[in-house]
Every structure is written in structure tokens, then in C-alpha cells.
Symmetry: C2
């Protein structure tokens, strides 16, 4: 069976978006449940999701195991897997790792852009790697079954996480640095080490990670995928679109600034372009998976490879965790 | 007027200990209010202190300004100044800096032994210095008037803090590395930079920071002070005894392990010596200040210098913040 998986979305959720994801035939989506929320605030986000699940049970349900991806496909619904873009819900307490897993957490970034208690974010000047607490948390995430996600982490921290983790890790949403030099994109060496250890990279459609930004064209994006596949093998590549549909610009401001600064930090944006960037015309939402399919075939990937990139590779990764 | 100040105690507080501190003629004590507590837990600790203040108003009161040190001396009471040994009460929220200041916080360590959101602790392998959030918090601590305390921080982080802070910082409880090689003790270069910037070192009487530990003798300790005074000048030296009177060993276990590990970390101790070490016979509690006075005179300090070390230097530091 073939599956379509988008391994990162953080939309302003509504029935309309769940319908779009169904139209795109997504069998599973890894959604960001929290950025900077602590444990109590996470509980509120989970409550909100429980209402989404109840009100849209014909379209979505809470995914808890890889088997739910098959179930979703059979039922023409989308399995929603929970993830965190920061480790703030576990606060400074290793015992909360098991608790967030019970709440359904499947992916957790060790850092967002800044230093966390676990590791260094990609926007810090110096990267000291995985911390004492970080080493303990990685062990605990391995034990309970939460995937370590290093999308927003700095490079040494990511190498450390790959080495320390007994299970493959993921970079759920980023692109290769060789294609576009963004702080969030990843070096060849890192991508090779990731793939060699069984890890996955979810390629991102977020304009700040794309060559030519919002004007990035499909051919160029697919060429990048072809080169990445040459570099690390096709089996370790998936999609993590980083779609932020219908989010107001106040949200990207909060994502970047949280409560850590009294001045304004523009992250990947700038003073003149502080808001969410416009998606490329061929990937305005998940229905762009169709265009990706066309583009990937055109660039020379065979059917099997295309299906791998658009979902089966993530499916196999889920199966092994 | 001369003042006696102990700039770090974390005792299992009781009327008996407040009496001992009065017997020692301490006009002010900087007490550790929290280690790993978050903001809500801090509120509980402050409530507990308000009960101590109410029940022992003949012995102690809550110190809020340097003027309270004079008031304490005149009233034969001890002014209690609040401090934190970790930045956990401000969580990830810069707005909490002003709030903890309102609660009476006068000193805050940017880290305990591990990496914090602000800087690196002395027990981490790699020290990346003050973080993005840390830079913002230092500015805010400067603004509201909380002293940056780097006693448990790693070296580069401490150099960074001195450089970034517009006000002098403190190392409230540690000793020089030249005297005893403990992870918590500080290098000559760091102590000189600290003093050159107007900062203070509070010399510690905690056996794990002492040459010969619990058997350290008074002469040896005073010799160390004399050498330190030669190195950095006598005006920047005070006492931060780190007394933990009547604390059960479960407390030192919690100080070291907090909730960050499922295994046991022994910090400065070891598997065979996991508990609080025994104080040297000449400094079993703050009444040892008398012995220090004798020892400092014997080693050659004049009256003025002795009074500086035992309190006036800290008084002047408080006055300037």
C-alpha cells in the first residue's frame, strides 16, 4: 500500500484545512501542537485538539501508531500525529517525557531557535551540543518512543543527538544547505550522518528555506531533491511542508519571540518582511503534493521512489519507532 | 559604621538558626530562596519566608535596600536578602524578572550546575557562554536591580556576563582555583576580571570548596584570603559561607539532581560521600566569623581590611546596586 504523509504542518486549524488535507489525500500529518508552551499550556492545546477530533471525526483522528496510517487510508481520513517544536512542555522535569508521550507526543524538537535546557538552537552564536539534561532526556525519549527532531537545532547539537540516540532521529522540516544558504538548512555532512544512522529529512516548502523564496519553482525544488537523493539515498527523504495555513502574522512573531525578549526578533524574516511569506504558487497548500508528484517523475524518479518521498519513507520510519 | 554580612546561606531555617546568626552579629544574610523552583513554587517559598519574618520579627526582617543593613545593625536584627541559585523562577519569560524583583529577589544565578536557558553551568562539558535569552535577561536584571551571580556557572559564561552586564556582578560563594582545584572554584584570570569590573567574590566555607575539606584549617584559609587580596585587591573580597545548617542529606541530593536525571548525580560529592560534608571545627556556623576575624588579623590584615572582608565590602557593593 502507498501512503501520503506531510510530516510537518502548523496551520490555524479548521474544518476547511482538514478538508484540504483530505483532498490532497494525506493519510497522515505530523502537526505542531506547541512551540513555547509549558506542560499546563500543552494540556490546553491537547483539549483543543480533542475538540477538533470530535467535530471532524469524518476527516481526522488522533494517530498513535504507524498502524493508524493504514487505518486512515482505508477510512479515507487523516491520522494526526502530535509533535512539539520546543522542549518547553517537559520543563526541567525528566518525568514529564513519559507524560507527554501518554498525551500522544510522537516528535519533540530538542530546541527551537534558541538554547534550550537540552541543546543549542540554530540561532545561537556558539553551539555547546547536547547538555547533561539533554543526554538524560534523549535516553528517556528513546525508552518511551518519542522521536528526536533537530529541525531547528544547531549543527554540533544535531551530531550529538544522532550519536547519543539509540534510535534514528528526524529533521522533520528543513532543506539542504548546498541548495539554499539559510541558517535553518543543513550541511551535506550532517545529512549524510543522519541518513547513515537511519534518520529522515522532511524537505520543507516554507519560503524562507527555499531558493528564490516564494518564487522558487517546482523544477528547481525537484532538482534539489534529486541531488539530495544522490547524496544520502532516496529512502531517507520525505516531505515536512512546514505549512502554516491561515495563520495571522502575530503567530510568526510569537514563534520567534516567545517571551524571551523585550525587543523584536525577526528570525528568518526581516524588519521589512516580518510576516509569514507567501507560499510558491505550486504549493499553496497540501494539494501541491500532486505537483510534487509530477515534478519528481519529470526529474527522473521512478514510481517507487516518488511514492517513497511523498509518504512511504516516513511510513517506514514510523513503523520502526 | 561596620557591618557583618554573610552573603550566602541555605539553612534549614528555624528560630535557632536566626539566633545563631544574631549571636554571630550578622547584620545581613543573603539567603537562597530557591534552587530549581519555578515561579509558582517560588511564591510558596516567599510565603514561608513571610511566616519566618512574622514569627521571628525580633531577630530578622526582609531586607530590600542597603539601608536595611544599617537599620538591622541599629535594631540588633539581621536583614535577610533573597537570592536564587538557579534562574528557574523566571522560566522562559523575561517579564518574570521584574516580578521576582518585586518579590524581593536581589541576587540570581544565571545557572546552577547544568546548562540553563541563560548560560552554561560549571558541570557541563562545553561552555557556550551567555545565550540569546541570557543577554536579554542580563539587560533586564540590570534595569530592575538584580545582581547577576555566577557562582555555579562555567568560565566563559562568567566572562560573558561580566562583559555584557552594565553593573558589577558577583560570585557569591566560591574560592580561588589556585588554592583548591574544585570544579566550582575560580581561576585567577576570572577573579581579576571580576574585581577589575567592580565585582565581588564571596569566599566559601563549604568543605567541597576547601583545601583539605572538612579538615581545612583556619590559618590555611586565611593565607588563601591574603593571596587572593594580593591578586585582586582586598576591597572585592567578602564571605559567602554557603552554610547549609541542619539540612538533611535529601536536600543536597535534590540540589544536585533536581528533576533532570533518573540516575543519581553526586555533584561535588561521590558515591561514598553523597551527603552534606561536615563543617570545619572553626566554622561550624556563622559564629565562626569571630575565628575568621582572629585569623585575618594574625595573617596581617589591618582592622579596616578585616572589617571590609567580613562585611563592609559587601555593604559597599549593595550600596552601589
Amino acid at each position: 500500500m502507498n501512503y501520503k504523509i506531510d510530516n510537518l504542518q502548523y496551520c490555524n486549524w479548521s474544518r476547511e484545512i482538514f478538508e484540504i488535507n483530505r483532498e490532497a489525500e494525506l493519510d497522515a500529518v505530523h502537526v505542531t501542537v506547541v512551540y513555547h508552551e509549558d506542560y499546563d499550556e500543552l494540556l490546553k492545546r491537547v483539549d483543543e485538539w480533542n475538540i477538533y477530533f470530535k467535530d471532524n471525526s469524518d476527516l481526522i483522528f488522533h494517530g498513535k501508531s504507524y498502524k493508524d496510517i493504514k487505518k486512515a487510508k482505508e477510512q479515507k481520513r487523516t491520522a494526526i500525529f502530535f509533535g512539539f517544536q520546543n522542549c518547553s512542555p517537559i520543563e526541567d522535569d525528566i518525568n514529564l517525557v513519559e507524560k507527554v508521550h501518554h498525551l500522544g507526543c510522537k516528535f519533540m524538537q530538542l530546541t527551537y531557535n534558541n538554547q534550550s535546557l537540552l541543546a543549542t538552537g540554530c540561532y545561537e552564536k556558539i553551539d555547546s551540543g547536547v547538555t547533561n539534561f539533554g543526554k538524560e532526556v534523549i535516553k528517556e525519549m528513546n525508552r518511551v518512543g518519542i522521536v528526536i527532531d533537530m529541525s531547528h537545532s544547531a549543527e554540533k547539537s544535531t551530531f550529538d543527538a544522532i550519536e547519543i540516540s539509540e534510535k534514528p532521529i528526524a529533521i522533520t522540516h528543513a532543506n539542504p544547505l548546498f541548495w539554499y544558504k539559510a541558517i535553518r538548512n543543513k550541511s551535506n555532512e550532517l545529512l549524510k550522518t543522519l541518513a547513515d544512522s537511519g534518520g529522515m529529512i522532511g524537505l520543507s516548502l516554507y519560503p524562507h528555506h527555499l531558493k528564490d523564496g516564494s518564487n522558487c519553482n517546482l523544477e528547481n525544488f525537484c532538482e534539489m531533491i534529486a541531488k539530495t537523493a544522490e547524496l544520502i539515498g532516496v529512502k531517507n527523504i520525505g516531505i515536512g511542508s512546514d505549512l502554516c495555513l491561515k495563520q495571522p502574522d502575530t503567530i510568526v512573531e510569537w514563534m520567534r519571540n516567545g517571551t524571551w525578549t523585550k525587543t523584536k526578533n525577526y528570525g528568518e524574516g526581516s524588519k521589512n518582511k516580518p510576516g509569514f511569506p507567501k507560499q510558491p504558487a505550486w504549493f499553496e497548500d497540501a494539494r501541491g503534493f500532486k505537483n510534487l508528484e509530477t515534478g519528481l517523475k519529470k526529474i527522473g524518479f521512478n514510481q517507487d521512489e516518488v511514492e517513497g518521498i511523498l509518504g512511504n519513507n516516513w511510513y517506514n520510519f514510523y513503523k520502526n519507532i
